[in-house]
């Protein structure tokens, strides 16, 4: 029996290349940390980015946001080092270090590890104020929905880290596919004639196939991006709805900077997200530093651990 089978062509993909978002480091020039009684540090090692936040007497003083490397301890050191360079701080000047994020057990110089759920709630409470009740965090490889009280203590949460849909990685996929820097996606998604239907909201792999089909069907790149953002928004809302959304809605994580997704989420929910001047990506590390600050009040400063 002759089998006349054609060979399957491999779908041509651009070589995987991450479109880099800006690594940042900031310090509040009006604060002199040497005059502060309690210096606390929070380190959040995520799968995609790592942050270091420094609080002086419970107030946000400095932070850095760097791309996570292949190795958690190095990423943690790298994030602290950036802040140290900017401010002149060394680990000897710090009274407590809290590690968080998925690499939290690998922050060699931390005194305690606290989950990112608790840290995000605490951080959001600082950034958005004590009216924050529902927090959405879209991280690099996970998506979290958190309820908290007026002190930033968690009352309900869920975290999805099985699927890329609704995560930063999911957005990087469309950024790679369209060959457009990730920071431009949000803006572009509104430069369209008409709001399109969403692509698959359950799976990034399927959404990507559908995006390709839309391009071939004649959609402009911007419109495809819009369809993709709508899918991500729908996905995220379906996660949120499991625990419900109350007024006092706050978004953290890298995707908070993507208006293409955020505005669509707000539209579906009919609720506006609370605003903040502070970089949304540092919420976890900020919460960690605040936990550290409280621990120093309770039990005194901890000895610096050699990094």
């Amino acid at each position: 029996m002759n089998i006349a089978a054609e060979s399957m062509p491999v779908a041509s993909d651009a070589k995987p290349e991450f479109w880099r978002w800006q690594e940042t480091c900031w310090a509040d020039e009006t604060i002199d940390w040497r005059g502060a009684k309690t210096i606390a540090v929070g380190i959040d090692v995520g799968s995609v980015s790592s942050q270091c936040v420094v609080t002086a007497d419970g107030k946000l003083y400095a932070y850095s946001s760097m791309r996570t490397g292949n190795n958690s301890p190095d990423s943690a050191r790298n994030a602290f080092h950036a802040v140290g360079e900017k401010t002149g701080l060394s680990l000897n000047d710090v009274h407590f270090v809290v590690g968080t994020g998925y690499g939290r057990v690998n922050v060699p110089f931390s005194h305690k590890a606290i989950t990112e759920i608790a840290c995000h709630a605490r951080g959001a409470n600082y950034m958005g104020g004590n009216k924050v009740r529902t927090i959405l965090d879209m991280g690099g490889q996970d998506c979290k929905a958190i309820h908290c009280d007026d002190k930033g203590k968690v009352t309900n949460f869920l975290m999805n880290d099985k699927c890329a849909a609704g995560t930063g990685r999911g957005m990087e996929v469309i950024s790679d596919l369209m060959q457009i820097p990730i920071a431009e996606l949000g803006q572009r998604s509104y430069e369209i004639d008409q709001e399109p239907e969403a692509v698959s909201s359950v799976c990034v792999v399927f959404a990507k196939s559908e995006a390709l089909s839309l391009l071939k069907a004649g959609y402009t790149k911007n419109k495809v991006i819009a369809a993709y953002c709508q899918a991500m928004a729908e996905r995220v809302v379906s996660l949120l709805e499991r625990i419900g959304v109350e007024e006092g809605f706050f978004i953290t994580g890298g995707i908070a900077k993507n208006a293409g997704v955020v505005k669509r989420i707000e539209k579906i929910l009919g609720i506006q997200a609370m605003k903040t001047d502070i970089d949304s990506q540092i919420a976890g590390a900020l919460g960690a530093a605040l936990f550290g600050h409280t621990l120093v009040q309770k039990q005194g400063p901890a000895k610096p651990i050699a990094s």
Partner: protein, 94 residues
């Protein structure tokens, strides 16, 4: 606090919810841990320094498969974990 462990994918939502307020001073000696045939539950200290129970990380992304043995399709009419937890701290979303 309600802790939801699990995920949602194309086929549905699979979460095991643990109400930690009911879990803290467990009156049944953490019976859920022994009741689960796959030993998916574990004792731990949470971020607020309370002794509670969680689902071990290794199982959280495959609940649909791991729990199938205890679901009606596996021949059981009630879940061993929810039956063992008489304070009612454990709930399955599916």
């Amino acid at each position: 606090m309600i802790a939801n462990y699990g995920y949602k994918d194309g086929s549905g939502e699979y979460y095991i919810s643990i109400d930690t307020d009911k879990c803290i001073n467990c009156p049944v000696g953490r019976a859920c841990i022994a009741a689960c045939p796959k030993s998916m539950f574990e004792s731990m200290t949470d971020d607020y320094d309370d002794e509670v129970v969680w689902i071990k990380p290794a199982f959280r992304r495959s609940l649909a498969y791991d729990c199938s043995g205890c679901k009606p399709s596996g021949g059981r009419s009630s879940l061993p974990c929810t039956s063992a937890c008489t304070p009612g701290a454990i709930q399955h979303s599916w």
